[in-house]
């Protein structure tokens, strides 16, 4: 009889005597207590090194109230032109970057699927994915703003680059677990590589690809609201300006618009995904 069995036995005995206790999430008691002790030690260390300027926090309380008040009466009007310009720029960036990113992600995704691509290509494509996924959009945006100058082009290239990593990874995973019998059937007819991809692989991954593209559109819009902070165009620049001018009513308006558009995107993308599947 091994240890786990005897433990279960003892637990049953205890339960019969009315001393039932629920099963712990982590079975091994040493590991459980180890994790608890490590957490406590970490928390003590972390909280002792976090230095907070409480005087400054107290001073900010008034601003917090102002800000919450601004949410109650957002000001859409006084900076209307800036908001509309920023939004249009964000939306155009979102659309173009998603289209370009998805188009570029398809070959990378095909190359990164182990079952249809040779090893050297696989490694190249996987490293492209790794680099594109590790860095935050905003870090990539900094580099592209230096290279391409301020404005929406740098933002668009940033978002397209980030889209490549995201889409290619998920596409490759999808291709890797597709139904191989269909590929064999098409190959048996003497189809070339391109024909196999087009007739056997593409129909199987298409619904998911469309769903993911719509999802990425949604993510790209959210990100386009941020990369403006480093000068890559879009609504983020407008938001940044309004916050640093302490015009909280305008920033509240921008945030509400962002939330509304994201909600709209999410709602329509769930519809599109249901429709394609």
């Amino acid at each position: 009889m091994n240890a786990a069995d005897s433990l279960a036995e003892r637990r049953q005995q205890a339960a019969k005597q009315g001393q039932w206790r629920r099963l712990p999430l982590i079975q091994d008691s040493r590991l459980r207590w180890g994790i608890v002790i490590a957490t406590v030690v970490y928390l003590i260390l972390a909280l002792s090194t976090v230095d907070v300027n409480w005087a400054r926090v107290a001073e900010g309380a008034g601003r917090a109230v102002n800000f919450l008040g601004a949410f109650m009466q957002p000001d859409f009007v006084s900076r209307q032109k800036d908001i509309v310009d920023g939004l249009l720029e964000s939306l155009t960036m979102t659309l173009t970057s998603t289209v370009i990113g998805v188009l570029l992600a398809i070959p990378v995704g095909l190359g990164a699927a182990r079952n249809i691509s040779p090893l050297p290509i696989y490694f190249v494509c996987r490293s492209i994915i790794a680099v594109s996924r590790t860095f935050q959009e905003i870090i990539i945006a900094i580099l592209f703003v230096v290279m391409f100058g301020f404005g929406p082009l740098a933002g668009m290239i940033t978002l397209a680059f980030a889209t490549i990593g995201f889409m290619a990874k998920l596409l490759a995973e999808d291709i890797e677990d597709l139904d191989w019998r269909q590929v064999e059937a098409v190959r048996a007819t003497g189809a070339s590589w391109l024909q196999t991809i087009n007739q056997a692989v593409q129909p199987q991954v298409m619904p998911r690809l469309i769903g993911l593209s719509v999802y990425r559109l949604d993510i790209n819009f959210r990100e386009s609201a941020v990369i403006g902070i480093v000068g890559a165009g879009g609504i983020g620049a407008t938001l940044n300006t309004s916050i640093s001018r302490y015009e909280y009513d305008t920033s509240a308006a921008i945030l509400l618009i962002i939330i509304a558009i994201v909600l709209l995107c999410e709602y329509s993308s769930s519809h599109v995904r249901r429709w394609t599947q």
Binding site: L88, E89, G149
Partner: protein, 271 residues
């Protein structure tokens, strides 16, 4: 019908009806026009002179970054520790707040539909706004520093953890819940013994996953003044010290890879 007859009277297979075919053409035309229109807007707002020398700028940038100033890494340990703290403490606070919100938002555990819609609203608001924007707001309110970063990460995590957790709660087996309530258990007891054990593994997995994403996000929070290694990044970029920037990039790259690995291992062990 997709099947039509050819001039010789033989049936010809077609994939779509004529109407569907035309609709598809129109959809493609509309899509491509929209894309071109957007592209034109962007192109109008771009200084193409700057774009033309992008290659030169890029290679110049790389040559400035290239021998990284390794001794700068010694300055970075404290900011890196701050970054880890922002991510971890932020995740902890975030999951503590997300936990009740998720129970209020799940269809099968919510006390009232009205409460559910409020909880869903909280989740959506938190999810739509990037942690960098939260940080920007909090820095003006609380002043620059680690605290603003921690709260920004926490606020952003509520939506993510809340959404995934409430979906997990909605997918639980109803039978254990029925069994517990058949013993005459109160509402809280049903939650505690019927629902909680079923969602606990999912909850732990989601939290670790969010922690890994938060490490990634907390590396850039310093750009708006919310503490961590991003402060050093911002300072180095502003002083054009690209050889320091490359050290920071490498450090972020390694940290993100390690946190991703840890999170994958833990999630693998749980699920």
């Amino acid at each position: 019908m997709p099947v039509s007859t050819s001039s010789q009277g033989l049936p010809v297979w077609r994939r779509r009806t004529t109407r569907a075919q035309w609709l598809q053409y129109v959809a493609w035309l509309a899509g491509i026009s929209l894309f071109l229109l957007c592209w034109k807007t962007i192109s109008d707002n771009t200084m193409w002179v700057f774009v033309e020398d992008a290659g030169r700028q890029g290679s110049d940038l790389i040559s400035r970054m290239m021998p990284p100033r390794w001794e700068y890494a010694n300055v970075l340990w404290k900011p890196m520790w701050d970054t880890l703290n922002i991510a971890t403490l932020g995740t902890l606070i975030g999951i503590m707040m997300a936990f009740p919100v998720a129970f209020l938002a799940a269809r099968n555990t919510t006390p009232h539909p009205l409460v559910r819609s409020v909880a869903l609203m909280v989740i959506v608001a938190s999810r739509s706004i990037n942690s960098l924007i939260w940080a920007m707001l909090l820095v003006t309110i609380l002043g620059p520093g680690v605290l603003a970063g921690i709260i920004a990460i926490a606020l952003r995590s509520i939506g993510f953890v809340g959404k995934l957790l409430y979906e997990a709660i909605e997918e639980i087996h109803p039978t254990p819940v029925e069994a517990i309530s058949a013993t005459g258990a109160s509402r809280m007891q049903v939650m505690n013994y019927g629902v909680l054990p079923q969602v606990m593994p999912a909850f732990a997995g989601i939290s670790v996953y969010r922690w890994d994403i938060n490490i990634r996000e907390s590396t850039v929070l310093g750009l708006v003044g919310a503490g961590g290694i991003g402060l050093q990044l911002n300072a180095s970029i502003n002083s054009l010290a690209w050889d320091q920037v490359s050290v920071i990039f490498l450090m972020i790259f390694v940290t993100v890879l390690v946190s991703e690995w840890i999170s994958a291992r833990v999630r693998h062990a749980i699920i």
